[in-house]
């Protein structure tokens, strides 16, 4: 199949008019720039966590219990005397990892099922779509909770639980795209040279559907971080002492009236990460729309 990354093509793209136009569109939208900045910042923090964090995120020190924010502990300390700043920094790794992994899994499964469903239509479509309907009949978080409870807590199981409920949205979208794309003349032309259905799905339908699916995936990153945090908060997700934001907010509940910083800083981290990805997704969406209208 086609090479995914071709350095020559990328170089060519950066010099093209198309790229300049994209840059102009980005510059015109402050919210997109904000989204990109937050997302990049988050990625930087996750990558550089060992350098940025001032302390071991799991090191307890009962003599330093619940200290308010200070120069030494910018976000204060929690009930076990752990440095909240370091825990929030390390938490970015967990959240980003969950978000990327979950989106990758559900995007792959959903796209596969959706494209097959939409392209072939008929009975195959009917069966696959009734299955996705079954998943969509439950509220997203409730189903994820049920699956997480059934699988038991833990990082891997959290990801499985979220991917389990998320793929249906990609399947729906991919199906809609495939339904539209399969009517195009170039699909007929590909058939006319003897290309098999698999070749056509992989070689023609998938490349056309990818941009839309990627936008959806970017938009979904924020939601996934939120869901993972919610599962952690409810004790069904990642378990302590792992520095996961949801878990940290949950642990701070008991002290919220007196020691507000325990829950507040990880809460802000969740807010910031979610907002960053949502703004980025919206921005990409807008840019693609403008380009489509050009």
């Amino acid at each position: 199949m086609r090479e995914v990354i071709d350095l020559f093509k990328i170089n060519e793209y950066f010099r093209s008019e198309d790229f300049k136009f994209t840059m102009i569109l980005i510059r015109r939208s402050p919210l997109t720039i904000l989204g990109i900045s937050i997302t990049l910042l988050l990625i930087m923090i996750a990558l550089l966590a060992p350098i940025i964090a001032t302390e071991d995120p799991t090191k307890t020190d009962m003599s330093k219990r619940l200290l308010p924010p200070s120069m030494e502990h910018p976000f204060g300390t929690d009930q076990l005397g752990r440095d909240i700043f370091s825990r929030v920094i390390w938490g970015s790794r967990i959240s980003l990892f969950i978000a990327v992994a979950v989106v990758a899994i559900s995007l792959t499964i959903g796209t596969l099922i959706g494209l097959v469903s939409g392209y072939f239509g008929g009975k195959i479509d009917e069966i696959l779509m009734r299955i996705t309907d079954m998943f969509m009949a439950f509220p997203r978080l409730i189903l994820a909770l049920a699956v997480a409870a059934a699988l038991g807590p833990g990082l891997f199981n959290t990801m499985m639980a979220i991917a389990f409920v998320d793929w249906v949205f990609y399947a729906r979208l991919a199906r809609a795209m495939a339904l539209q794309i399969r009517e195009e003349t170039y699909i007929e032309a590909a058939r006319a040279v003897g290309a098999s259905d698999i070749r056509i799905i992989v070689g023609h339908v998938l490349p056309m559907a990818i941009p839309t699916l990627v936008v959806r995936a970017t938009l979904d990153m924020g939601g996934t971080i939120l869901t993972a945090a919610a599962l952690g908060f409810l004790g069904l997700g990642v378990q302590p002492p792992t520095p996961e934001w949801g878990v940290m907010v949950s642990e701070g509940r008991r002290f919220i009236t007196e020691q507000w910083w325990v829950s507040t800083f990880p809460g802000f981290a969740i807010l910031l990460a979610t907002m960053g990805f949502n703004l980025l997704g919206d921005g990409i969406n807008d840019i693609l729309n403008v380009r489509a209208r050009r």
Partner: protein
Amino acid sequence: MLLDVRDLKVRFHTLRGIVRAVDGVSFSVNYGEVLGLVGETGSGKTVTGLTIMRLLDENAEIAGGEVIFEGKDLLKLPMSEILKIRGRDISMIFQEPKAALNPVIQVGDQVAEAFLAHESMSKEEARERVLDMFRKVGLPDPERIYRSYPHELSGGMAQRIVISMALALRPKLMIADEPTSALDVTIQAQIMNLFRELIREFNTSVIYITHDLALAAEISDRIAVMYAGRIVEVARTEELFENPLHPYTVGLLRSIPGSKSSGSRLFSMEGEIPSLLNPPPGCLFHPRCPKRMDICDKEVPNLLNVGNDHLVSCFLYGR
């Protein structure tokens, strides 16, 4: 004989009823021959082409007939066999060249697909073969064109690419569905010349589908005239132009601007093609026919050989 279509019937099941798009069509194509399939929009010529390729949509039903290609009935072959024939033995060119190319894939890779679908070869070999084809169809700077996307190409270039894709595997038969209708007249002439050269060089038989009788005459050895899903007249090109028999063919010839039989004012035929949902009884052309007789709305005329390999379906020439 390369292709023999016998009494082909195709129906579409629509919400408003059954449309008899192709209703008993018979014709044949010899080795190395170019057959022009001429008719108005909705006369069933494209559907005929798609049926031969087995590319019809699901709401279409092949209600009868045979499509014998080199001794095999294409309508009875399993899909796995059809996939081998498509592109390698029979290929098709579509009306809108740009629509026939995927907008997000480099055009070279799309042409390479024809090779990769049928022959086990590396991507590099396929690429070389594609570049060869690009040179053959007269594309300048093939290397650059290979890496182009469809929106970067003109209509004429896009059609050259589509032609190179259709001829890539030297098929025995090519179905060309209005290949120049979407192009400027000047480009049209270039493409027609290229087309003529290539089919001679590759010794490919062609079914040339068009609504333009004059255009069909430029390239075809024989012409079959279709009307409302039926063939009304078949003859060698010169014979058809010198001695048109069916009143519909006569009308078509008079409608060509600058033709001998037209007066100062361009002739236009009265009426329009009948609805195929509720076709008129008898000969489908009778409501528009200037030579209508009593029998015309009662019986369907057969396609008769009136000599000189000239076939016509009209009661004026017998039953």
